[in-house]
């Protein structure tokens, strides 16, 4: 049996609880890379080995190895950090990475272009800030995300705390992290190191999100476990549990498909952390380990069925699921600008294009936020849409912060088009090894062109959700975009259309492998119709269905079979 296990599965099992030969890899000064096996293990520690793909061919000719570097991601449940932590991360970006911080769609930070010799100092720096990167990538539970700005109500605070508790409970525990990065001496390993995951860990990554209706900033149904908080009498009574969400797929492999989580039941608030652990245990024990493309929880559920899942859950958790309670999810975007909560604190949501915080030629974004962090006494919160909230500003500080916002020209939503401020993109070129086409670097140009089209037909002020990724794996949650492009090749994309704005419906493949002129040519007549006929529909995605341009989803093939074949 184990002979047929994929390499990644073998390596993880034989890694002595994620130690592998990481220490030796880091000590090897002749290469900027890790040993092959260690590149799998490093993910569990929060880092991906990448190389600058713009330089790949050039360096090959120069007889140099690829320009190896690492992407390092933090575990930051709920996306919250203090101004002091912000300043620390700003320093990290300066000294150990490429001078930028990137806000991710899972409410955390990524550092890019971290060289091997800087990994340990960086992680030690994080440790000093009370932060870590444990399990930010790899086959374990990933960063737990939730709707932002808990201070708008007591329920938000509960939801945030629950996110932290789930993250702590499902964190991997072996001392490998301390030994590899924090200079702790190596010790003998035994099974007590990983009481929950054991040496197996999970078959694949696992994601948990919590939404507090009616908002769905976190696209809760895109997760393996989606928790939908149910408020009763101003308190969180418990959570509807949706299972089996996940957006990744592989082009041409019809056995792979994006799937939204299915609500299966309800658990009381005090049992929700245990419930999550039980669900992860089911996936740990029953998930597919022989085919990584089939190893996400969504496929386990589709293989075994939801009834099987309910039985398993009742057995592992010790209690059956209660019936799903009513809820409505209306929107998944951010609310930009200032808001005030019931305690009298103010919160400013800023638009950060593609989540990239850097000092640009025109916009000194990193400097601006560092300057704000120095005078800010509240918190920073990252949204699942890669934006930033300067949270818990007291009334006296508000005008000082606003002054800085004005001084540096930060975007509180008023400086960008509705299309641009709601758009998301993944990183893609030059660092992501999976990218087939540009994404982050292309987004500004693309949103400009699409906005122009919209302006021409008088819908420039509509907030249509655009999402762009460099590959089909789903980092910017493309299949929940009203319009989405996923990279197929240089300059070529698949065009997906028709998700709703509340994160309740996936889009579908509309045209395959088309370039920019074709993309614009496809969108133009749709925008024209939308402009003429839209009164009855609230969003562009809904309109496409209501007008009959798209018909109801029929299943996984929607993602592989273009509605309009090659013209």
């Amino acid at each position: 049996m184990s002979d047929s296990l994929p390499e990644a599965e073998q390596i993880k099992r034989e890694s002595r609880y994620l130690r592998g030969s990481l220490r030796e890899s880091l000590a090897d000064k002749a290469t900027g890379a890790l040993r092959e096996d260690d590149t799998h293990l490093s993910k569990f520690h929060g880092l991906y080995q990448q190389d600058d793909r713009d330089l790949r061919e050039e360096r090959r000719q120069q007889k140099l190895e690829p320009h190896f570097q690492f992407m390092l991601r933090l575990r930051l449940p709920g996306g919250m950090l203090t101004p002091n932590q912000w300043l620390g991360l700003d320093e990290v970006a300066e000294h150990f990475a490429d001078g930028s911080l990137r806000l991710t769609t899972r409410q955390t930070f990524q550092f890019h272009r971290v060289f091997k010799e800087n990994l340990a100092p960086l992680i030690q720096h994080l440790d000093g800030l009370g932060l870590d990167s444990r399990g930010a990538c790899g086959d374990v539970n990933r960063n737990v995300v939730t709707n932002v700005n808990p201070h708008l109500s007591a329920s938000h605070q509960t939801v945030y705390e629950t996110a932290v508790q789930i993250s702590e409970r499902l964190k991997w525990r072996s001392a490998a992290y301390e030994e590899v990065w924090l200079n702790q001496p190596e010790k003998q390993t035994d099974e007590e190191e990983e009481p929950f995951y054991s040496y197996l860990y999970l078959p694949r990554k696992f994601k948990v999100a919590i939404a507090l209706p009616p908002h769905n900033d976190c696209d809760v149904l895109a997760n393996d476990i989606g928790l939908i908080a149910i408020e009763e009498k101003g308190e969180i009574a418990g959570y509807n549990i949706a299972v089996g969400g996940g957006l990744g797929m592989t082009y041409g492999d019809r056995d792979t498909y994006p799937r939204l989580a299915t609500p299966v039941g309800f658990v009381p608030a005090d049992r929700v952390v245990d419930a999550c652990e039980a669900i992860v245990a089911i996936q740990r024990d029953h998930g597919c380990r022989t085919n990584r493309a089939h190893a996400r929880f969504k496929y386990t559920l589709d293989d075994y069925g939801l009834d099987w899942f309910r039985e398993q859950f009742a057995e592992v958790h010790g209690q059956p699921l209660e019936a799903v309670r009513d809820y409505t999810l209306t929107d998944s975007g951010d609310r930009f600008g200032w808001t005030e909560d019931d305690e009298g604190f103010h919160h400013l949501t800023l638009c950060i294009p593609s989540g990239r915080i850097r000092d640009f030629e025109q916009l000194k974004l990193r400097t601006a936020l560092r300057t704000i962090a120095k005078i800010h006494s509240g918190e920073f919160r990252i949204t699942c849409n890669q934006n930033l909230i300067i949270a818990r500003v007291n009334k006296k500080e508000r005008s000082a912060i606003q002054k800085l916002v004005d001084h540096y020209g930060l975007d509180d939503g008023s400086r960008s088009t509705p299309l641009a401020r709601n758009a998301m993109s993944c990183v893609a070129f030059p660092t992501c090894g999976l990218a087939m086409a540009e994404s982050e670097r292309y987004l500004p140009e693309l949103t400009g062109k699409i906005h122009t089209l919209m302006e021409e037909v008088g819908i420039g002020q509509e907030a249509i959700q655009l999402r762009v990724t460099g590959c089909p794996n789903g980092c910017a949650r493309p299949y929940l975009g009203e319009i989405a492009l996923t990279g197929k090749g240089p300059g070529k994309y698949n065009l997906y259309l028709g998700a709703d704005t509340g994160g309740n419906r996936l889009n579908r493949l509309y045209r395959e492998n088309i370039d920019e002129p074709q993309i614009l040519a496809e969108l133009k007549p749709l925008f024209e119709r939308y402009a003429r006929e839209r009164e009855s529909a609230k969003g562009f995605g809904d309109f496409l269905y209501q007008s009959g341009i798209l018909s109801a989803n029929t299943g996984p093939n929607d993602f592989h079979e273009p509605l309009i074949a090659r013209s």
């Binding site: 000064k29 002749a30 290469t31 900027g32 330089l55 120069q62 007889k63 140099l64 190895e65 320009h67």
Partner: protein, 598 residues
């Protein structure tokens, strides 16, 4: 060893005899036997009498060479060959292989030696030099001798080792056959003259020697088949490829250059250098002409040849380095009192020369009514540049690869360039040709035994011959362990041939790879630091018979590495400093510690 040979035409008994003999021989002895057999065969084919293995009888000539880069060796072979052609009985020795006790009996001795670094003897001359200057040096009343010294006149201690031998042999009672000649980088002509006068003198002294013996030419192991191309008759090699080895943002520009030797018949062995006849930058030639007011079409005479002035400046004469004779000449022409004072003080003159070129001289001390011939008269010939070959023919067939650092710097408000490196790096276009020859270096050779471990220390372009070594060992499937120490400025941009080294390590051919990059961190780390860090294992390798090779910078790196090796031997071999130094001297003598430094 015998497994892969074609079927033997020998009888079993013959074969056993050959096997038995061969097993007893060391590398040098094998070289000799191979040469002997080649000579024997040549003699048979030319209908001559087969020579005997026994030593030639009577008072012949003994030729000793002290060579670092192989030039002295080449000249020693030239002398040997020509002397034999005249019927003299000649023995030619690498100084290291010459039994010093023979000195007392030597009648006629020719010494050809280069000088190294700050007036130091080359590695293989160290022993003899030390012996002659030590307390055990014998009286040499019977000896007649001649010295040919090689050097570079832009260094303060020009030809010092030759001068040392010449002076010392006289002090010990020897009598000069002919006066010593000190050759500069453009040594060919002067050396040929010295050889001719020496041979004339010897023939006059001993007109009796007959030529009935067919001369034994000791065929070089390295050159299986003779090529018509050599230093005097270079092959015009087309450039096949050129890539920059440094990544973006590097402060260096090192080029990998591939030339074709197709149909040249040229063969080389890892460790050899390629001599390249390079050209001056036409822009610099233009500025020299501009400053002297010449048009370039003037005719000048170089030796016996008439050449256009611009051609002479571009192809034949050295413009980028000044030598004392040039400045002395110029002092007379310019009648500058400042310059005349300068040339009277050798030390100051040498310092002044450093980093100045002809244009500096012309600008600082203009000469009115200068004659074109006077301009070129005291300029040194543009010598061929030597580059350690970075490839093995076992891997690249009839290509030859070089690793060339383009030398560029600014001094006194002007961009300056190394002639050879920038010609190869910038001015020579793909498919254009470079005149080249093989410059063998028998003092930089892989161990004869492919199982012997080697330690290669080659920072910067010093890595070149080690790429050749690895290609050779890979192609010949030699089992010896290999260990490389490499260093440069920045890891991400300056790790020359990184991909190949990592690949060799992955294959297991390269057992260990230690690197030092001096500009990556707050502290400057060099290869010598890595040597000390790895001292314990390094010592184990040495005790297991490993050979050490050092290639690269002679001024700072090689002495620092030497010091580090002394430290390793004393720390891990528990030796006093003197004993550690002796250990390395013994290694040098045994050809286990070889250097190609420049």
């Amino acid at each position: 060893m015998t497994a892969s040979l074609p079927p033997s035409p020998l009888s079993d008994a013959q074969r056993q005899q050959v096997d038995a003999l061969v097993r007893e021989l060391n590398g040098q002895q094998l070289d000799w036997v191979q040469g002997y057999l080649a000579g024997y065969r040549a003699a048979l084919q030319s209908g001559g009498e087969a020579p005997s293995v026994s030593q030639p009888q009577g008072a012949g000539l003994t030729v000793l060479f002290g060579s670092q880069t192989g030039n002295a060796e080449t000249l020693a072979e030239r002398l040997t060959e020509q002397a034999r052609a005249k019927g003299l009985e000649v023995e030619c020795f690498d100084m290291d292989n010459f039994p010093t006790r023979r000195l007392k009996k030597e009648q006629r001795l020719a010494i050809i030696t280069s000088t190294h670094g700050e007036g130091d003897p080359p590695d293989n001359a160290l022993g003899l030099h030390e012996y002659l200057h030590g307390r055990k040096a014998p009286k040499l009343g019977q000896l007649k001798y001649a010295v040919l010294a090689l050097g570079d006149s832009s260094y303060e201690y020009f030809c010092q080792t030759g001068i040392d031998f010449d002076t010392r042999l006289a002090e010990l009672g020897g009598e000069r056959l002919i006066e010593r000649v000190d050759c500069d980088e453009d040594f060919d002509e002067a050396a040929d003259q010295w050889i001719a006068s020496l041979l004339d003198k010897l023939s006059a002294e001993q007109p009796t020697a007959g030529a009935e013996h067919a001369p034994i030419t000791v065929a070089s192991v390295t050159q299986g088949q003779e090529s018509r191309y050599d230093r005097k008759h270079p092959f015009t090699a087309p450039m096949l490829d050129r890539v920059t080895l440094n990544g973006r943002g590097s402060s260096k520009a090192v080029h990998h250059i591939e030339l074709s030797l197709e149909e040249s018949g040229l063969n080389y062995t890892p460790g050899d250098s390629l001599g390249v006849y390079v050209q001056n930058d036409p822009a610099l030639v233009g500025r020299v002409l501009e400053h002297t007011g010449f048009g370039g079409e003037e005719t000048v005479t170089l030796k016996d040849e008439s050449v256009r002035l611009d051609q002479a400046l571009q192809h034949h004469l050295e413009l980028t380095r000044l030598t004392p004779p040039t400045v002395q000449h110029w002092a007379k022409l310019s009648e500058s009192s400042e310059l005349n004072t300068l040339v009277d003080n050798k030390r100051e003159l040498i310092q002044w020369l450093h980093g100045r070129d002809l244009l500096d001289l012309l600008q600082a001390y203009p000469v009115d009514g200068l004659d074109a011939q006077a301009l070129v008269d005291q300029l040194r010939r543009l010598p061929p540049r030597l580059y350690s070959i970075a490839s093995s023919q076992a891997a690249v067939d009839d290509e030859v690869h070089l690793t060339v650092a383009a030398v560029r710097y600014e001094q006194r408000g002007r961009e300056r360039e190394g002639v050879g490196s920038t010609w190869l790096a910038d001015r020579l276009a793909l498919d254009e040709t470079a005149p080249v020859f093989i410059d063998p270096n028998k003092n930089f050779r892989l161990p004869q035994d492919g199982d012997t471990p080697i330690i290669m220390i080659g920072p910067g372009t010093g890595i070149a011959p080690f790429r050749a070594f690895m290609q050779e060992r890979e192609a010949l499937e030699q089992a010896g362990k290999n260990w490389l120490f490499f260093g440069d400025r920045n890891f991400r941009t300056d790790f020359l041939y990184q991909r190949e080294w990592l690949q060799w390590r992955k294959q297991g051919l390269l057992s260990r790879l230690d690197v030092a990059f001096s500009r990556d961190g707050p502290e400057k780390v060099y290869v010598q630091h890595r040597l000390r860090e790895a001292g314990a294992e390094l010592w184990r390798w040495l005790e297991d018979g490993a050979h050490i090779y050092v290639c690269g910078d002679a001024n700072a790196m090689a002495p620092d590495v030497h010091e580090a090796l002394i430290d390793v031997a004393s720390t891990h071999g528990r030796k006093s400093r003197e004993n550690a130094e002796q250990y390395l001297r013994d290694m040098t003598r045994d050809k286990r510690y070889q250097r190609d430094v420049y």
